[in-house]
């Protein structure tokens, strides 16, 4: 080993090939399931029943997608998912950055007190039952669209992320604006926010992915306002119920799209938006993640 390293200082050793092989294996393990799901969603359901292990559709069909968009009324859950993602992200970013700005102002009288109030909640919380009772009973937000927006309005982790970015902006900019008579709201909106684009992008993506992927709030508080994630969950739960081949007539059997194929098609539809924003996620998320991690 030693001599081989010495002979070829920048040379490639056998170990490098083992590493490449190992990581190729990891890549396959990660990607294969997605390709498999994609292939099943485009494959004829009856053919799928034969053997589920393939990544190229054997009998290509669009019937699974046609079925979920015509028969299953996937349109309203889809709109619900999009609506909560868009509105939740917009309100989340505006409110979080506003709080972050105030907490970045060292001259604000309540700065330390408010910061403490926010930070404490990162470590202690009431728990599932008190949260549930507050939202459904005390506030009466059950099955109300507001339940998707208001409880998650401000994220403490995101506040810290934005605040530490804002603290890096030279204070002289704000002082100059103040001398010109600008108020604090104006300074936040017109001077600070435009300079915070990278961190705002990070937080916007945090919010958007979180909102799109969110399932528990629908499950706990708003089953009458299903999102795509919830519909997928429901279908997963129904997967065990099968059509009895003896009682169903031939026509029914022919039209019955297997729950598995439908489930895979919905899985794909719920995944695609994530894949679309993935390049951006990559760019901003990773930076944001390490920024948050090394803050202290």
């Amino acid at each position: 080993m030693r001599s081989s390293v010495r002979h070829r200082k920048n040379g490639v050793t056998a170990f490098d090939f083992i590493l490449v092989f190992f990581f190729l294996l990891i890549i396959i393990t990660t990607v294969y399931p997605f390709l498999n799901v994609l292939a099943i969603s485009f494959n004829d359901p009856t053919d799928t029943m034969r053997n589920v292990n393939f990544i190229v559709p054997r009998v290509f069909t669009l019937s699974n997608y046609r079925y979920i968009f015509t028969e299953k009324d996937l349109m309203s859950p889809f709109i619900m998912s999009v609506a909560r993602t868009v509105i939740g992200t917009l309100t989340g970013v505006i409110c979080t950055s506003m709080v972050a700005y105030v907490l970045s102002r060292k001259d604000f009288y309540f700065n330390r007190f408010f910061t403490l109030l926010f930070v404490i909640t990162m470590y202690v919380g009431g728990g599932l039952i008190p949260d549930y009772l507050l939202i459904t009973r005390t506030l009466g937000l059950g099955n109300n669209f507001a339940v998707y927006i208001i409880p998650g309005l401000v994220g403490v982790f995101n506040i810290i992320l934005i605040r530490s970015f804002m603290e890096g902006i030279p204070i002289s900019l704000q002082e100059a604006a103040m001398i010109d008579g600008a108020n604090d709201f104006y300074i936040w909106m017109r001077i600070i926010m435009p300079l915070c684009t990278p961190v705002i992008a990070t937080v916007a993506l945090f919010c958007a992915v979180g909102a799109w992927n969110s399932f528990m709030d629908t499950y706990l508080y708003a089953r009458k306002l299903p999102t795509l994630q919830y519909v997928l969950y429901e279908i997963m739960e129904q997967a065990t119920i099968k059509i009895d081949p003896h009682s169903a007539n031939a026509e029914q059997l022919k039209n019955a799209v297997s729950p598995l194929s439908v489930r895979m098609a919905i899985t794909i539809i719920a995944t695609v938006p994530i894949l679309v924003v993935y390049p951006f996620l990559q760019k901003y998320f990773v930076g944001g993640m390490t920024l948050g991690a090394v803050k202290d």
């Binding site: 399931p33 409880p151 994630q229 990773v286």
Partner: protein, 313 residues
């Protein structure tokens, strides 16, 4: 410490006055609504812990706290003597300890090896792909996992036999859930170790090379010690959260056959509290989980302090 003092000196000590409040009226308007939001959504539920010591049912929930019946620790006794409680506690600890151990190990293993990869482009691609599953929801992951693990699924097809991965009512499901979790999170969890590795002085590697250390020795004596502080902090945090196994993942990866071994405290609190309409017992289970969690965190932190490692708090 010195820095903090210096900073405090530069800011003039302000005294509360109406004039100051008027001067900072915009800042107040921009923050007070969110402080009210915070009190409602984060502090009111803490006040809800009082329910753990009361008999609270849907019918008595509307009563004020003083009108409800105080029953001392009866809710806790009831929860602990529940026929499901012991198994649930074992499941929670088992799932999370297995998850912490294997999860930490695989993330470090992944990061150390990725750090050794010499082909930069390939390294980038690998990393990009590896954290894709992190951004996918648990519902989607569960849907895919069940497709793979259920009877007649992809793994059964590959193995050619019935593996019964999702239908063996035993501790096997802990391992299965643990591996699904690793599949989802390993690339993401490795990021923090990779960034810690980026901070290691490259001169150390050069010096070790000159001294004749081979690649494995360099990994063992430089890379691993370099990420040790990070690993310890993350371990402390995960030990503090040892009882907080999320209900979402457990519920989604479960089914009727294996439920005995997938049930965890948070889910149990939901079933007893909301499913069985006994809010008091549900709150008691949640409170038990929080209090033990904070205690565990403090203990782990103390131990890390004794070992001379970086402490979290």
């Amino acid at each position: 410490m010195k820095v903090k003092k210096a900073r405090a000196d530069t800011i003039k000590k302000q005294h509360f006055s109406l004039k100051l409040m008027w001067k900072q009226r915009y800042l107040l308007c921009m923050s007070v609504p969110f402080v009210i939001w915070l009190i409602i959504f984060k502090y009111l539920p803490l006040w809800g812990w009082t329910m753990a010591f009361q008999d609270v049912r849907p019918s008595t929930f509307a009563l004020s706290i003083w009108d409800r019946e105080f029953i001392g620790f009866a809710n806790f006794t009831k929860a602990f003597s529940d026929r499901l409680f012991t198994q649930t506690l074992i499941n929670t600890l088992g799932t999370s300890i297995l998850g912490i151990a294997l999860g930490t190990f695989s993330a470090i293993f992944f990061a150390v090896l990725l750090n050794e990869l010499r082909f930069i482009r390939f390294k980038k691609i690998t990393q990009t792909i590896s954290y894709l599953p992190h951004f996918v929801s648990w519902v989607i992951v569960a849907s895919i996992a069940k497709m793979f693990l259920n009877a007649g699924g992809v793994l059964d097809t590959i193995a050619g036999t019935k593996l019964n991965l999702m239908s063996t009512n035993s501790m096997l499901i802990w391992v299965v859930i643990c591996f699904v979790n690793i599949w989802k999170e390993v690339g993401w969890d490795a990021i923090i170790y990779l960034s810690a590795m980026a901070g290691i002085d490259q001169g150390l590697y050069e010096a070790a090379k000159v001294d004749g250390a081979n690649r494995f020795q360099r990994m063992w004596h430089i890379t691993l010690p370099g990420i040790k502080p990070t690993a310890i902090v993350l371990l402390i945090m995960s030990i503090g959260g040892a009882l907080n196994v999320g209900m979402e993942r457990q519920m989604l990866l479960s089914n009727g056959i294996i439920q005995d071994h997938t049930m965890v405290l948070s889910w149990f609190a939901y079933i007893r509290g909301i499913g069985n309409n006994n809010y008091g017992v549900g709150t008691a289970i949640g409170m038990f989980q929080s209090v033990v969690g904070i205690t565990l965190l403090l203990i782990a932190n103390k131990i890390a302090g004794w070992l001379g490692e970086s402490r979290l708090v």
